[in-house]
Symmetry: C2
Subunit: 242 residues, 2 copies
Amino acid sequence: MTVVFNERNKCSSCPIRHRAVCARCDDDELALLEQIKVYRSFEAGQPIHWRGDELTHFSSLVSGIAALTKTMEDGRTQMVGLLLPSDFVGRPGRDTVDFDVTATSDVTLCCFKRQPFEEIVEATPHVAQRMMEMALDELDAARDWMVLLGRKTAREKIATFLEMLVRRSHVENMSIPAIDLPLTREEIANFLGLTLETVSRQMSALKKEGVVSFPDRRHFEVLDLAALHDATGDDADGGMIV
Amino acid sequence: MTVVFNERNKCSSCPIRHRAVCARCDDDELALLEQIKVYRSFEAGQPIHWRGDELTHFSSLVSGIAALTKTMEDGRTQMVGLLLPSDFVGRPGRDTVDFDVTATSDVTLCCFKRQPFEEIVEATPHVAQRMMEMALDELDAARDWMVLLGRKTAREKIATFLEMLVRRSHVENMSIPAIDLPLTREEIANFLGLTLETVSRQMSALKKEGVVSFPDRRHFEVLDLAALHDATGDDADGGMIV
DNA sequence: CGGGCTTTTGACGCCGCTCAAAGATAGTGG
DNA sequence: CCACTATCTTTGAGCGGCGTCAAAAGCCCG
């Protein structure tokens, strides 16, 4: 299940070098991190952390997608975060997290042992500053998400979600490429605070209207970007940041 | 409308000295902050910032309560943060915020001019570390809030909200003191992703069941704490942090 | 006492959830 | 290569919780 890479991949050639928690580190600081890092891989569907488990490592997501979810006693589940490459896993200043972290696709993490990492945070301002920035960015995203959860209709939620994926895929306009749909219907439902049936129905509706198409279950194409945006309920400039 | 205090209140006797962004500062660092700080007051209902306005000051909330809200084109409004004394207003690394900040009660802020404050953040690790901690705490709260918005019923939302106020009032058990209800029904609705009518109905239901009572519109008393907790939908230990 | 606000309560309808079943798709072993 | 199965997805029927609209009641301040 968990595969540990022993190759000593150089940070300097790391794909998330300039975006992760180490983004602002100079070479000396990077060398410190390099000494305490270990790569780990998880297959799609594998748990990375359970809520409440002691957190022995912090890590940066190098590749793949992971979900943070909270589940109520009776099974109702809400996704509370979606981790993309360069995002940070862990909670300095607390020794557990109170959500589950699950690999949604195959995932590679760059793990740091907790103790030495926290010492580095104390010692190197660049890391604390970068972590503050990343936490604030996540907070901004969480706040947009709260508007979606509290106030948007099912249709608007789906349209907003698809538009977010479009924006994130950094697609050149003109062409209509198939965009990856990295979650199952159930995961999308847990992301958006809906049931999977409602997700499916709203997607079918957008398809019937010619706004999007679904070549297969894990991809979609945008046929009418303006119509998609209209369906999000957001204003012209788009307030959503994710 | 906006009253500027010119008194030079000493940081050392500040009520939020040990919890705000300056919590970890030593005397020298505090002296730097003291030079650039100015107090400002806002009356209940006054706007503190508008979404998108340039952010000339950062600040700590010294007393009172302020709300962060986002409003959609058609008027649907969602509260995305509730600021209590010691909470920070502002977004280092960005020159606007994309929500409105409103004084919900009479409010006093300890304001720092932006430019010099950001220099201090760069220069003093204690401040960046404290801001990271505060951002992560807010993120935890936002995640619990997302579960509430996405998955809880109206009844559970109201019960969770009231229980949060109880917890925050740090009330000695035994007695049944009147607890402050710092928001109007409409503000509560915007906080919880409901309409004000539903808020009123659910409160009436809890009252009819003898779980709480409402001596007047701005206060409530808990008559049955266990029943209140049962109504939240949370597990026995309570996962909510706010 | 009267006007404007907030809050409560009622009646009704719709959106999204529940329950149920059929249809796709992928993986497995003969 | 084709069943056979497990899983994911779609679609349908029906219902109920919460929103909408409306009006009455309570409260504050002049």
